[in-house]
């Protein structure tokens, strides 16, 4: 009997998968044990300038729901019934005590459900800072960057208060540098996905990236470097598969099974999964005022998402560009149930794709869904229609 030898890549992937998908947050608990005087700060999707938290010597943790791994037992009586699942299970993480290690929780104005989270969190989890980081919603305003710079300074002051120590410019620059490296590595990961999707699947890339949301970025950089070094040695044969872009995973996370079933039928060559980690698309300047550099980068060196209105980045054009740059033939237009921004955008995207004669498939999902038979059939039929068109 042949003995299956686990490759170095598989070992890394397994570790990432365990850390990323475990809603008891073992890596964060371990970090807290190792840093008894340390603090952890949670933030909700989509983008948060984690450099601020990192520079304070704290551990940033992204809260993005809990998929089907946690039932929203207590949260359900605290939140409207017409609300997306990610918000319910994120709250349940709080009510069930799973994220009791947090000293602060931040949300941003991506949508009104997310804004409401700050109030619910604050009313229920006393002793924890619960705030909205007011990212500018008028991205084209002349004062948007200076405003945001000062808003970051406000958050920084709160983090200083929590950590009990001042945060120097040098600390911020160091953090920016760590995060710049992280973004470079993630871009590299996406390059593989785009150029040789048979060597790196989207599910794999997703898990490798997601592990970074629950550990210090230096450690994540190490992991990514090791993984990237292994990818060229992987065995994988190019197959004649349809290349698609997966759009609609910017906030609530599609279940892994959903991504896998799409990948069984096609190559996902680009996507907006965990887009917050990759929001800034170039290095943040490591000179000058670091807060200004971060604020400017959020607005001027960034990708797009349906939760940001920016006249310079019409979303349909941005999607078309993503399709063209990744050499995709088709698009999976996903949207989380009850997600107003996602569902609104789905219509706009579909009209444009229709006009441009780019095939697309609409898929509505929920992080907690567990039955995929219908979706599998839809994807297969869609792919066949392209292959035999």
């Amino acid at each position: 009997m042949a003995v299956q030898v686990r490759s170095a890549f598989e070992a890394i992937l397994e570790e990432c998968s365990e850390l990323a998908e475990d809603v008891t947050y073992p890596s964060v608990r371990r970090w807290r044990e190792d840093h008894p005087a340390g603090h952890a700060v949670g933030h909700f999707q989509v983008y948060f300038p984690e450099e601020l938290i990192h520079a304070a010597g704290m551990l940033p943790v992204t809260l993005m729901g809990a998929g089907s791994r946690l039932e929203a037992k207590q949260a359900d009586s605290h939140i409207g019934s017409f609300v997306c699942s990610i918000c319910r299970t994120s709250l349940e993480l709080g009510f069930s005590g799973r994220v009791g290690f947090l000293d602060a929780f931040y949300t941003t104005p991506i949508c009104d459900v997310a804004r409401n989270l700050a109030g619910i969190w604050g009313r229920n989890f006393k002793g924890m800072t619960a705030e909205i980081l007011y990212l500018p919603q008028h991205a084209n305003a002349k004062q948007a960057v200076p405003y945001l710079r000062d808003e970051y300074a406000r958050v920084l002051a709160e983090l200083e208060r929590i950590s009990g120590r001042p945060i120097e410019e040098a600390d911020l620059r160091r953090s920016i540098s760590v995060y710049n490296e992280n973004r470079r590595l993630l871009r590299e990961l996406y390059r593989y996905k785009r150029e040789t999707p048979w060597l790196l699947s989207t599910t794999e890339a997703y898990l490798l990236a997601k592990a970074g949301t629950v550990m210090p970025r230096e450690d994540h950089n190490e992991i990514l470097r090791s993984a990237l070094a292994e990818i060229p040695n992987r065995e994988g044969r190019r197959q004649d598969r349809v290349r698609v872009v997966f759009e609609g995973g910017f906030c609530e996370q599609p279940p892994l099974d959903m991504l896998q079933l799409v990948e069984e039928a096609c190559y996902i060559v680009d996507d907006d999964l965990l887009i917050g980690m990759r929001w800034i698309v170039e290095d943040v300047p490591e000179t000058g005022d670091p807060l200004y550099a971060l604020a400017e980068s959020y607005l001027e060196r960034s990708t797009y998402s349906c939760v940001q209105h920016d006249d310079r980045k019409p979303k349909e054009e941005m999607l078309l560009r993503r399709v063209a740059e990744s050499g995709a033939q088709a698009v999976i237009l996903a949207a989380a149930k009850m997600c107003e921004p996602g569902l609104d955008e789905q219509v706009a995207y579909s009209k444009t794709l229709e006009e441009k004669k780019i095939p697309f498939l609409l898929l509505d999902f929920e992080e907690k869904m567990t039955a995929f038979e219908r979706m599998r059939m839809e994807v297969e039929t869609f792919v066949e229609s392209i292959l035999f068109d």
Binding site: C87, P109, D112, R115, G119, N124, E131, Q137, R154, E340
Partner: protein, 442 residues
Amino acid sequence: MPEMSVTQAPAPQRQGELLGRGRRDGNRLFKEWYAELDAAAESGDPSAYVFVMGSAAEVLKAFDLNLVFPEINSLQMAVRKVSLEYLNKAEDYGYSTDVCGYVKADVGMHLDGRKHPNGRIPKPSIVVATNMCNTYVKWVEIWQRMYGCKVFVLDIPGQRGIGWSTEPGSDQFENDRRYVQSQLEELIEACVAVTGRPFKIERLQENLAHVNRMAADWSAVLKLNQNIPAPFNAMADGLTYMGVLSAYRGTETGARYMAELREEMEYKVRHGIGTIEHERFRLHGVGPACYSYFRRFLELFQDWGAVYVNSEYLAYAGGGLDLGIQFDVERPLESLAEQLLITGRRSMSNMFFSQDQLADTVRDWKSDGIVYHSVKSCRTVSTGMADSREYLTRIKDVPALFVESDLVDPRLWSEAQFKNRIDAFFEALGARKAAALVAAKG
């Protein structure tokens, strides 16, 4: 807030003319406003699409732009029982059943050539969305695609968390104010470009002065409802008053209307005139009504002798004018930015962080309980309701009823369910009041 003084009562012969004037005049003004929109649709006169929560009317009216309120349009479709037709059109086009019904009813109307049951609606030349509801920003993108019109997001940073506040003059407040003021300057530039008309600061000053008067009277009107019996029903009459407040903000007509409304309400208070014969229960509303079954919605409460004496809706949908506003017309732009920040923030706080001020309002308006009406369309106001209710009943011992339906989607209305819950609530409330009475008698 200073104590309300009731001004000289009018002669009794004027009673017939006075009572119900706010409603009659409100309905008339509304008709006239729709007629103007219809005329603008014909002539192509430039129009601005704006929202009730932060319309920037002070600036837009300085350019004589016609103001279109899509939320009011959608609401009117529901009241006129035609919203489902429009919702169906939007859903056929591709919009999910989970998308805000206000948006869909409006999209349906645009797909139908902007034919509204109240008249034709002009095309947008510019649209202004505040961030008070995030769906506003998604909504304006729809018109931008349809018409290629100028989109302006007026971003008003809100309260950051529970217990957080800033005062004018503080660094934090000034940072936010500078941002808002600079956007107002950009909005003025955009209006000049869109209309081809010059900006006249005196016009802005005049508009600000009108709003000052209107807000002072509006705030007084709301406070008059602290009296027993309450002179108006905040859900029913309040809607008409709010319509005028939005559509005629920044005009002499609007300011006059509100002064006259105040006169009517003062008269009613002086003569102990309420909205129903016997006011048994006083309610505070959180969330809008179900406009598809508006009459029935109201009756289910009135049948129990219940009157809505106040509503959060009057605060947030009134753009935060409920506590008045004080524009300093001598420094118009700076003051506009400052006051927009204060009132806009208050509007948002009423939705996201309302718990403590809600308890105070319930106390001051002598309400017996709160009715939370959670609506599927509006996650902005509905998401945190269950939690706010839990907090208020647990911490502040305020009785509360929680019901669910929608503002414009008649498919989400279930009268039997509504009635059961309402009946049970009033039975319990009646028992509570009786027990309190016995306890008070010792």
